[in-house]
């Protein structure tokens, strides 16, 4: 089984190569892989139906106790056959459908990846492995729906599907984890026998809701039904395969798989019957609102998914028999009908019923295959669909207390299905050709009518000879769900019984709808119904996404105003609140008690530093500010000198001088620093600034109250001369102990110098490219040159820039060299 799954993934990997080698035959070549898997599962069928389930385990992540376990019982066999069998036909079909697409290779990669994931999903025994494949199907489905990614509708539909099924997947994962906590095993096959434990567990309701959330989203049950019709934006082979025959049934599949574990309770029955039944009835009638073949088919798909969910909810022997039978019935006819819709679309250029008609002579083979499928869908004897419908009614009749309601809903839903089947499979072919098609209608190629004909033909064959599947495949699938064997016998003719009468009523209503469809479709009641239940949930979902985006945008904008002053203010305030708060709540802070020795000149220098800083703050003239800065800087240098740091003092003196020169050179070309700001913002900033300053001082006080650990400095001193042959310890640290840091410093300086150089050399800048349209310049107008370049209106400023480049630049590396040689010379 592992090989079967892996081979499909391997086919996905080589698909682009195959397409490159032979575009025409690619579909046929690639189809051999799922065909091989199909044959493999057919060969296992005898074993599974007679001797019981197969289980296979391969170590995968032994460290996490996560093996790749696969489990093949009747249920997974039925689904595996559908995945590989219909998959084979779809791969062939896609070869014809996308013959002219440049992206056939990409398509096959995605389609075959999906197929592998789906196969893994139905075979997985380990819940984690199952979940991985479950998510993979969501992802590949997203890619496939959005295959025409340059169309907005496709992208939107793909996003819708991904969000809905992805969210459901997360819920499902939570449910599976809870299930593990109750059962103590990840393996489904071991859980199956533990239904009583789970049902009695206090976690049961939680598990049930979470699993249902995963299943209902994946299988498009109300209120999540909206994503599936939207998913029809994908290419038709995708719709035929993922969104009718396989993936959307994954939700039903997990419910079926969980039936022995979670099923049989009042909660299970009520929930599944209510949601499934409502979805069935609602979407069956919604289908009649559309004229697009694919939309009709999409809604009838959700109708069937609702039916299957409802039958699982009923859970009787007959209901499960009906469920597995209808799964097969539906897969056969719906796959065929989607391909039919694709053929009509492909060969005529439209799939709108208002424009279609009279194609019987142009597309005879498609018509035969499609009509067979449509008759099966409508449940007309002797097709397989008739048997499916009869057994559904049987199940409904014996469904206990809900019986009448379920039967009534089923009849009404099936009546709509009869009409839909005829609309899709019959109406395009009969009558007159209505208008000019964009293409001359002609028969589809073999690759494209093969699928509908095989599936339609199977629908007829099984209808005529149901013994082909009932005792083997379906019976063991039923046993897989119920965990106990039952006799399952299908037949076309049961004699005159209530189910047959219900069928007759269904036909009567169905044909009536078909003949009155055009009026019904246009009626106001139908429109209102469609808007309320068909469009509203989807619109609501889009609205939700929109509001989510808008509110997060508002929140982001509240913080990211685009003004860095606001950011700084937030950061400073945050510092005050957090560090200040931590200081307040830290109980055992001690404060230094004594001031220590203070000499008057030291105190004077400290006062000078403070005064110069305040002067720089107060200055309204740039040169006053520069002077104040320099006085402060030189005072700091003197402080360094007084406290045993001559190297620092030296460096500070040189850098202070350079800074002074640099500031004077540059500031002379810039406007003055005066500028009016409202008193409120000045006070606010002052409060914040003083707050941070106070916090810094407080932290410093707190730190000073602890004794200093000088062991590192001691180590440096001890080893400075003996190990590094240097007597100036500071320099030894810089060039030896921490030499790499100094190299980093030199690199930073070099980058800064390069940056300065580049900035000064950039003479002219294309203004619109940098500032877009957001430039304010009421001070001086910007003059745009003839060649689109802009220069500042103050023309001499441009020239000055260049001059400065020449002057400022040499200063730069001087600073860099200052640091390094100064250190090395003394070491």
């Amino acid at each position: 089984m592992l090989l079967a799954v892996l081979s499909v993934f391997a086919a996905a990997a080589v698909a682009p190569l195959v397409v490159r080698l032979s575009r025409k035959a690619a579909g046929w070549i690639l189809a051999t892989v799922p065909l091989g898997a199909f044959v493999f599962f057919i060969r296992q069928a005898g074993h599974v139906t007679h001797d019981g389930p197969l289980r296979e385990s391969t170590p995968w992540f032994p460290a996490y106790d996560l093996p790749l376990t696969f489990y093949l019982d009747g249920l997974s066999l039925l689904f595996a056959l559908l995945v590989t069998g219909i998959g084979t036909l779809i791969v062939v079909y896609a070869g014809g459908y996308l013959k002219h697409s440049d992206e056939l290779g990409r398509f096959y990669v995605q389609l075959l990846s999906f197929m592998g994931a789906m196969l893994g999903l139905v075979l997985a025994d380990n819940a984690i492995v199952f979940f991985i494949f479950f998510e993979l199907t969501s992802l590949t489905s997203y890619l496939l729906i959005g295959f025409y990614h340059n169309e907005e509708d496709s992208r939107q539909a793909a996003r819708k599907a991904l969000v809905v099924t992805g969210a459901g997947g997360l819920a499902l994962m939570a449910g599976l984890i809870l299930l593990y906590q109750v059962t103590g095993t990840w393996e489904f096959s071991e859980m199956l026998a533990m239904g009583d434990t789970v049902v009695q567990s206090p976690l049961y309701v939680g598990i049930f809701i979470l699993v249902c959330a995963g299943a209902f989203t994946k299988s498009a049950q109300f209120p999540f039904h909206f994503w599936l019709p939207a998913a029809m934006a994908g290419p038709t082979p995708v719709s035929a395969y993922l969104h009718s025959a396989t993936m959307v049934k994954a939700g039903v599949f997990i419910l079926a798989r969980m039936h022995p574990v979670l099923g049989g309770t009042e909660l299970w029955t009520t929930t599944l019957v209510a949601f499934g039944g409502f979805t069935m009835l609602m979407t069956a009638w919604l289908a009649l609102r559309y004229t697009d073949l694919k939309q009709i088919l999409a809604y009838t798909t959700t109708m069937v998914l609702g039916l299957l969910t409802m039958l699982l909810g009923v859970g009787t022997e007959e209901a499960i028999a009906a469920m597995v039978t209808f799964t097969l019935v539906h897969a056969l006819y719906k796959g065929a009908l989607f391909m039919l819709a694709g053929n009509i679309d492909h060969e005529t250029g439209t799939r709108d019923l208002k424009e279609l008609g009279g194609l019987r002579s142009a597309m005879p083979i498609t018509m035969i295959g499609g009509l067979a499928a449509a008759l099966s869908m409508s449940g007309i004897p002797p097709f397989f669909g008739f048997i499916g419908k009869e057994i559904t009614y049987e199940a409904a009749l014996h469904a206990g207390g809900w019986s009448t309601l379920i039967l009534g809903a089923s009849v009404l839903a099936n009546a709509a299905l009869v009409a839909s089947g005829l609309l899709v499979g019959l109406k395009p072919f009969i009558g007159e050709i209505k208008g000019a098609f964009t293409r001359e209608p002609h028969e589809a190629p073999l690759s494209m009518y093969l699928g509908p004909c095989v599936l339609g033909g199977l629908g007829l064959a099984i209808g005529l000879y149901p013994a082909f599947v009932d005792h083997s495949l379906l019976q063991s699938a039923q046993a897989g769900i119920l965990q106990e064997p039952h006799e399952l016998h299908l037949a076309l003719w049961h004699g005159v019984n209530p189910a047959l009468i219900a069928s007759l009523i269904t036909f009567a209503i169905g044909f009536a709808i078909y003949y009155g469809w055009e009026r019904l479709q246009k009626s106001a009641v139908m429109g209102g119904f469609g808007r309320a239940l068909g469009d509203a949930p989807g619109d609501g979902f889009e609205r939700l996404l929109y509001e989510l985006g808008r509110s997060s945008h508002t929140i982001t904008r509240a913080f990211q105003t685009g003004q860095f002053r606001r950011y700084l203010l937030l950061i400073f305030t945050g510092t005050i609140v957090m560090v200040g708060g931590a200081l307040l709540f830290e109980a055992n802070l001690s404060w230094p008690s004594e001031l220590g020795e203070v000499r008057y000149y030291e105190a004077a220098l400290a006062g000078l530093v403070v005064l110069s800083a305040l002067a720089a703050v107060r200055a309204n003239d740039r040169f006053v500010a520069i002077l104040a800065l320099s006085i402060g800087g030189y005072s700091v240098a003197l402080l360094y000198l007084l406290f045993g740091a001559p190297d620092l003092a030296m460096t500070q003196f040189s850098v202070e001088t350079l800074t002074l020169i640099l500031l004077v050179i540059v500031l002379i070309h810039l406007p003055n620093i005066d500028g009016y700001e409202p008193i409120t913002s000045r006070v606010r900033d002052a409060v914040v600034a003083v707050g941070v300053g106070a916090i810094v001082t407080t932290v410093a006080f707190a730190a000073l109250s602890f004794p200093l650990d000088r062991s590192v400095s001691e180590f440096m001193m001890q080893n400075s001369y003996t190990e590094a042959q240097g007597s100036n310890i500071v320099n030894v640290i810089l060039v030896d102990f921490r030499g790499l840091d100094t190299m980093g410093e030199i690199i930073v300086l070099t980058m800064a110098a390069l940056g300065v150089f580049v900035l000064m050399r950039m003479r002219r800048i294309r203004l619109p490219e940098i500032l877009g349209t957001r430039l304010h310049s009421d001070d001086e107008p910007i003059r745009v040159d003839g060649d689109g370049e802009t220069v500042p209106a103050g023309a001499e400023a441009g020239g000055a820039a260049d001059q400065n480049g020449a002057e400022v630049h040499p200063d730069e590396p001087a600073g860099a060299e200052e640091a390094a040689p100064d250190d090395q010379s003394t070491s």
């Binding site: 810039l670 310890i729 410093e745 877009g772 400023a797 820039a801």
Partner: protein, 130 residues
């Protein structure tokens, strides 16, 4: 004396942050310069002060006997001074360069990279199937 320098450093921080919050970009640059001194002084003070004994091993000896100024903060500050200068030079040229292009040193007008009026991704007309 450490306590006094801690207060001095705190005052420098306050002055620097006040300047960093000004609309005039040149005041911002001055704030950066003061910030450098504030940080360096804080590191220096945190390493404790020792008067007049530089961390230099006297000639003919292999280690320093007795008290000596803490060399570790000094090494850090030496690096920091030089880096601050590089930062200052770059910032200053950036402000200057920006001025030659936009003719303003008003921080609140430099919003080209984050315009107040965004391109709203959500305004496109929503199209729903069918």
């Amino acid at each position: 004396m450490e306590l006094i320098l801690a207060v001095v450093s705190g005052t420098l921080f306050a002055a620097s942050f006040y300047l960093l919050l000004r609309r005039n970009l040149l005041r911002f640059v001055i704030g950066i310069i003061i910030l450098g001194n504030a940080v360096n002084l804080l590191i220096f003070t945190m390493g404790r002060l020792t008067r007049e004994v530089p961390p230099v091993i006297p000639y003919g000896q292999k280690v320093i006997e007795g008290a000596y100024a803490n060399p570790l903060p000094q090494a850090l500050i030496l690096t920091a001074i030089v880096i601050s200068f590089g930062l200052l030079a770059f910032t200053l040229v950036l402000v200057y360069r920006n001025y030659t292009v936009s003719r303003t040193i008003d921080a609140d007008r430099l919003t080209a990279s984050e315009p107040e009026q965004d391109v709203d991704l959500h305004t496109q007309k929503k199209r729903l199937p069918a």
